[in-house]
């Protein structure tokens, strides 16, 4: 390809000479096109995300926010309002951070609402298999949101992150229910204060 490199380089020199030796960048149509706007390359993961987001089919009670505007789909928030179960009436906010190699890697999800829940700890870590060990590139944002939604309709004590909450759910579902109510209304469960989220 050296001939081709040479031709390109000659064109470039020619253009430089034409502009009085000033070291301007190349003058081909393609080059100008790139100079005019500081373009990003069309990155594959952005396209995957655009597809995922534009095809979302959310549970009715879920809404999304894009704090950085319409062009940053890599950081967003999802509010979940469960319409049945222990957490009926609460609103829970999750932050999503999507990596540049999505969907090769799962999005990072944190629960921003402090919640009394066996599978979500007080720091907002979420124990959901598809976010960690079971993530596969065929999964998408929709699957994750549904997975999160299910954590509220069917919390389980078998994979606990909040050990105490899991123990109560297991030993005494009635007490668990009243703890959840107290936490969502804004109050203490044991030593821990939960801000109101209803």
């Amino acid at each position: 390809m050296i001939k081709l490199f040479k031709v390109k380089e000659k064109q470039r020199e020619l253009a430089e000479n034409a502009s009085g030796g000033a070291p301007v960048k190349k003058q081909t149509a393609g080059e100008l096109r790139l100079h005019k706007v500081n373009f990003k390359p069309p990155l594959d993961f952005l396209l995957d995300m655009t597809r995922d987001i534009s095809e979302l089919n959310l549970p009715k009670s879920c809404t999304m926010q894009f704090p950085n505007g319409k062009d940053d789909l890599m950081n967003f928030e999802v509010s979940i309002r469960p319409d049945e179960g222990y957490y009926l009436g609460g609103t829970f906010l999750f932050s999503f951070q999507v990596s540049p190699i999505y969907p090769h890697e799962a999005p990072k999800v944190k629960c921003k609402t402090k919640v009394y829940h066996p599978n979500i700890d007080l720091e907002g870590n979420v124990c959901l298999n598809i976010l960690r060990e079971d993530w596969k590139p065929v999964l998408n944002i929709n699957t994750v949101i549904y997975g999160l939604y299910h954590l509220f309709t069917e919390p389980n004590y078998e994979d606990p992150l909040n050990h105490d909450a899991a123990a109560v759910l297991r030993e005494n579902p009635k007490m668990f229910e009243s703890n959840v109510r107290r936490a969502m209304a804004g109050g203490y469960v044991g030593q821990t204060f939960f801000p109101r989220c209803m």
Partner: protein, 449 residues
């Protein structure tokens, strides 16, 4: 010795390859002194990464007839680099890799010019990359490879028969190593598979379930990840964990030790803690040398066609015995990054709404519920409602304006189409050309920038 003059020349050995005709060579191989001189004068190669592979690549390319090299790397030299990054010395620790590497190679090989760039690859304007004839990648992350691949493929243009236009092909050679294993590959966008066509070659990283870390740890790594992912936030609240801060690392190590003792789990060491938390990949000099040399050799072949080229993926495994294998991977014809996309000619007066309607009628597409993206900007999004609202006003604007008044460019669309009576989701690359717009006309507006 009849050929004393040739024997004493600096390119004594390389000349055999570049000056003599051969039988197993590329179709446009033109041996002779001109070829050698052109290689020195006109071939411009960018080396991405000045680490284990990058150091070797710079040396290998400089001794393979290339004289115009540039190197980009955002990292500074660390002590742990010294077992393989042979251009660095203990007293260089803390200095930018790209700068030291360039200086060392230029000191030893006269006539070679290497320009260092101490910055992130994303910091460079995309046109920076178009100045090179070949890009050689010595990287250790999928993200960075994916980025450079997208950049290189974005220069690619196809002719009306969907054949890649040769002058727009930006060849890449890519190397990677892990311990005794490595790979080298040649990517000719539009001809051989690009990085994105074969992304499945990279296995996803193993991640432990959080509840295992919290409730049923069994291995030393579980204890370390507990301290790193759960305990750190619990104790330090808003302070972000910094893997390069030795105090942070020490804290995680101490916590991991405590947890391991509590559960009777052996094996937590400081070294393992660093390895798990930073996902350290073991690295040795020999593998880097092997893989870089293969990449440099292919770079020389791409430029000169002095031999056949690697087609297109070489794996090397010295972990158990010695195994090498060449695999000819195939392109993904519908690849969004390197594929030709569907050519669409439209009038500059067409609005985005009209354009979307056109896609529904287009015989090759028949797309409904279309969303449109142009170079990372979402022009219209069907869902969710909040984004639909934010982008709705674009529908009445012209596509020409929305695309920055370019004569042609790529947009990506997705929507649903019907195949065998089933609705399927479909993400497509479209090559949009505006009728009657000549790209060079606005030279005056761009030149002064």
């Amino acid at each position: 010795m009849a050929d004393a003059s040739v024997q004493s020349s600096r390119s004594r050995d390389l000349d055999k390859l570049l000056l003599r005709p051969g039988n197993l060579v590329g179709p446009r191989f033109e041996p002779g002194p001109e070829m050698r001189d052109d290689l020195q004068t006109y071939a411009r190669v960018l080396v991405v990464g000045a680490g284990g592979l990058g150091c070797e690549l710079l040396k290998d390319l400089a001794l393979s007839g290339f004289r115009n090299l540039e190197v980009i790397d955002m990292d500074r030299i660390e002590v742990t680099n010294l077992n393989r990054q042979f251009l660095f010395r203990l007293e260089d620790v803390g200095k930018p890799k790209a700068e030291v590497a360039s200086k060392r190679v230029m000191e030893r090989i006269s006539g070679v010019n290497i320009v260092p760039h101490f910055c992130r690859i994303e910091d460079k304007d995309i046109s920076f990359y178009n100045d090179f004839n070949i890009i050689a990648l010595g990287l250790d992350s999928i993200e960075a490879r994916s980025y450079i691949n997208s950049v290189a493929c974005s220069f690619l243009e196809y002719d009306s028969d969907n054949n890649p236009r040769e002058e727009t092909i930006k060849p890449m050679v890519d190397g990677g190593t892990e311990g005794f294993k490595g790979h080298a590959r040649v990517i000719m966008p539009g001809i051989t598979p690009c990085f994105e066509c074969t992304i499945w070659l990279f296995p996803p990283q193993v991640k432990f379930p959080l509840c295992t870390l919290a409730e049923t740890p069994r291995t030393a790594a579980h204890c370390i990840e507990y301290a790193h992912l759960i305990k750190w936030n619990e104790v330090h609240g808003g302070v972000a964990f910094d893997p390069d801060n030795p105090q942070h690392m020490k804290w995680v190590y101490d916590e991991a030790v405590k947890r391991a003792e509590l559960f009777g789990i052996p094996g937590v060491t400081y070294s393992l803690t660093q390895g798990v938390v930073k996902n350290i990949i073991p690295a040795i000099a020999s593998t880097n040398a092997i893989i870089s040399a293969a990449c440099a050799l292919e770079t020389l072949k791409i430029a000169t066609e002095c031999s056949k080229t690697l087609s297109n993926y070489l794996t090397y495994n010295g972990a158990e015995g010695l195994h090498t294998k060449v695999t000819e991977f195939e392109r993904d014809k519908d690849c969004l990054v390197c594929g030709p996309g569907v050519l669409i000619e439209v009038d500059p007066s067409v609005t985005l709404q009209k354009f979307i309607d056109l896609l529904e009628e287009h015989p090759k597409l028949r797309l409904s519920r279309v969303s449109v993206t142009h170079r990372g900007k979402n022009l219209y999004m069907q869902a969710p409602p909040v984004l639909e609202e934010m982008t709705r006003s674009n529908l009445s604007l012209t596509l020409f304006e929305l695309m920055g008044k370019l004569s042609k460019d790529v947009v990506n669309v997705n929507g649903t189409t019907t195949k065998n009576d089933q609705k399927i989701s479909c993400l497509r690359k479209l090559s949009v050309v505006f009728k009657g717009i000549d790209g060079v006309t606005d030279m005056d507006t761009a030149g002064g920038a």
